[in-house]
């Protein structure tokens, strides 16, 4: 059956979460219209609010903040603004679960060197078996949220270790489906939005049935709520997560221009969606999500950006377009000791 795609955003009909009406509009867009919220008009928070928050914590320790840096445009721009515009002294943290291309790491390293900031690079293959399980068990869990549990936990651990009160991310407005206040305090762990419901349930099932039962992952957090609890109770940190992108109404093209000029940054040769800097595992993650739900977390992000007036639907469709061929997926599957047959429905 041909997929039914919302005429306003890029979500695809996927019952029970996404239902498209006779006018071709999905329930998420309809709810958005009904809420009367217009994100494209005014930011929920202003840049002066951001300054108020960061100034409360400035200068209290060796580092003012911990910047999560993947080497992509959003986190690189965040780091650049934190250092140069907001004049903070950041400690930078890059996480590699074994599937981050060297090109991205080099890009992160270059930015760190140009800005003259301290950098922690953390590489591990600890999660490899978990990723393999996702493929082998044909779980409907989306890989990326699982991975984010681990890197957020490591981030909080480092923040606690260095007594850093603020964690700076490169998360864009499109990645914050709930209010920014909620993201700041709960680290985007709420899975209330309808477009995430089934995905969130699949994550919970996978964590309970395949992760928690494995002695190697006995301490692995089952959810972002768990991450926050561990951060609070074990690491004794109350660090908050902020992204400058939530406070400044600038288009990616504008800050990409800045980091290209100032940090000699460029888009990686290969990444998904186009014009992003995501790890290789991400190809597999989005392929499996699309197979299971008709859309991936990137479709959700792009749809949010469309509703916020930051991108056209046509642009989003073009950015999301991909041919998941063997050449692309085989090397990733091989790294996980899996085969193409393992991901066939």
């Amino acid at each position: 059956m041909e997929e039914k795609r919302c005429v306003e955003c890029v979500l695809v009909e996927s019952k029970p979460d996404i239902i498209i009406d006779e006018d071709g509009v999905c329930n998420v867009c309809k709810n958005h219209h009904a809420s009367g919220i217009d994100e494209s008009q005014e930011p929920e928070y202003l840049e002066t609010d951001f300054l108020k928050i960061i100034d409360k914590h400035r200068g209290k320790g060796k580092y003012d903040c911990l910047c999560m840096l993947s080497g992509g445009k959003d986190s690189t721009a965040s780091l650049y603004y934190i250092k140069e515009k907001y004049k903070m002294n950041p400690l930078v943290f890059t996480f590699n679960h074994g599937f981050v291309p060297d090109e991205h790491i080099q890009s992160a390293m270059k930015s760190v060197e140009k800005l003259g900031v301290d950098w922690i690079y953390f590489q591990t293959d600890f999660m490899k078996e978990m990723f393999r399980k996702i493929v082998k068990t044909k779980s409907k869990v989306v890989i990326c949220p699982v991975c984010s549990l681990w890197y957020m936990l490591k981030t909080y651990e480092i923040a606690a270790q260095w007594d850093i009160p603020i964690i700076i991310s490169g998360w864009t407005k499109g990645q914050t489906t709930s209010s920014k206040k909620s993201v700041m305090s709960k680290c985007a762990c709420d899975q209330d939005p309808v477009e995430y419901s089934t995905m969130a349930n699949a994550t919970r099932d996978f964590m309970n049935n395949h992760v928690r039962t494995d002695p190697r992952y006995a301490d692995f957090p089952a959810s972002m709520e768990d991450v926050l609890t561990i951060a609070r109770k074990k690491y004794k940190t109350k660090a908050i997560v902020l992204s400058p992108h939530w406070f400044v109404p600038s288009h990616p093209d504008e800050y990409v221009k800045v980091i290209k000029e100032k940090l000699d940054w460029d888009y990686p040769v290969r990444s998904y969606p186009k014009k992003s800097t995501n790890c290789d595992l991400n190809f597999l993650a989005s392929k499996l999500a699309v197979d299971n739900y008709g859309y991936s977390h990137y479709h959700i992000e792009m749809s949010n950006l469309i509703r916020m007036g930051m991108i056209t639907r046509e642009e989003a469709i073009a950015l999301l377009e991909i041919d998941y061929d063997k050449e692309l997926l085989n090397p990733i599957l091989e790294k996980l000791d899996c085969k193409m047959e393992d991901i066939k429905k």
């Binding site: 306003e8 217009d38 840049e47 515009k85 056209t312």
Partner: protein, 559 residues
Amino acid sequence: MYILGISCFYHDASACLIKDGVVVAAAQEERFNRDKYSPVFPIQSINYCLQHEGITSYDLDHVTFYEKMYLKFERTIVSHIEGFPFTYKNFLDTMPLWLKDRLVVPLYIKDELTFNKKIWFVKHHLSHAASSYFLSPFNQAAILTVDGVGEYASATYGFAHENKIEIKKEISYPHSLGLLYSIVTAYLGFRVFSGEGKVMALAEFGTPCYIKEFNELIDVREDGSFRINLDYFSFNRGEKMHNKKFIKLLGEERPEDAPIAQRHKDIAASLQKVTEDVVLKMARHAYRETKSPNLCLAGGVFLNVTANSRILNETPFKNVFIQPAAGDAGSAIGSALYLYHSILNNEKRTTMINSALGPHYNLSQIEIILKNKRLKYTKTSTSEELTKKVAQFLADGKVVAWFQGRMEFGPRALGNRSILADPRSPTMKDWLNLTIKHREDFRPFGASILRERVSEFFEFDHDSPYMLYVAHFQKKYQGAFPAITHINGTSRIQTVRREENHRYYELISEFSKLTDVPMLLNTSLNDTEPIVCTPLSAIDLFLKTKIDYLAIEDFIVEK
């Protein structure tokens, strides 16, 4: 050097950013929070100004505030004490505002902006004076400021030379021409701040047959100084500032929704006449005292276009300058420029060329919204194509919303956020008032005309880039432009030069090629809410009203 100027907590809150003495950004808070005449701390305007320059408050060298709050508080307390016990209720109502916002302005600024350097407070009328003089092309000038009230002063005259301003005399509260105008505005059933312009328009429908009564209310001397007869007023004693004696003198007040009778029009005409007479006398006195050929005007009273025109035509001054945000919004600029020039002793070099100091939106931002809203639009490939097409629509009798470049600062739309139409149409005025602007039928529309052809159509040959003057049509054109002609045969005019607004100039030129009329009806791009700021607001307005086309940057949107 960056200086941020702020004006707020009464009405028309605004912020501006000065870079090395040049105004690089300015905006009124109402445009962002969509609350007309919004008085609140202009945090969104401030964010806009800083982001326009790509800086934060860390990069600011100074912040200025447009008045001295403690002086104003002193005046308020004294006024309450004098009127006690009748002022008690008003005292209880206003004190929380003072304690919450006004008296803690320095803390407010420090907290909201994370700003720890010095904050400068410039006297209200000095801010007004500076807003006009330092943006004018003059190196010396007489200055007149008239408004409701600042700290104590309600009107001043002074003299400016190079980077110094000297206030020579002032009239103090409660003697206030601006306040008198507002009191009568409220008495006539209109809202203060928004209704004064309506009273000015209404005045032309009446005869000034209440002059004798107004002479009871205000005693005007030959030098333009005056005293209000306090027997007729009850300041700080409740919601209304006129008393029973006032009503005995002029008759019952008009409720907001009551019909407008001839008596109301005559009272409006009398008020207008008195106002004009006072400011004319003030201006003549300022000339006698300073002998300067140049005059700078500021303060809310100088948004009164009829009074301005009489000053221009009937005083010995050769040149008159009024900046477009003559009211309190412009004082944000005035306070910042006063600091830069007069206190920090920097040479005067700024001249305002146009009022486009607000946000602008790039093509891709606009096209995203047009596409995602699934609107029917075309993208023109050249400015010439756009202006030719829009000119043709206008010549065909269509109404066009014109959204171009940076938003204007001040209450007038001057060709960047405007609704445009053919001034020749006999039905256009009523159509616009009824279906798009939703306002009183007696209110006229202004015109934008090519500067070089203004004297051909009007008995007027001056620059009027901010639509702050009215002019009579030349005899042969009387009655030819009903959409922009007021009952008295005048029109409020904006002269347009190519160097001030290239695309708008080209549009009027194209319209002229089609019609041999080098002017357009120009009214602000709004309904009853503040003038639109963003593309989305413009699109919403376009979709909910009977505007035929929206020309937004290079795009033409149709329904």
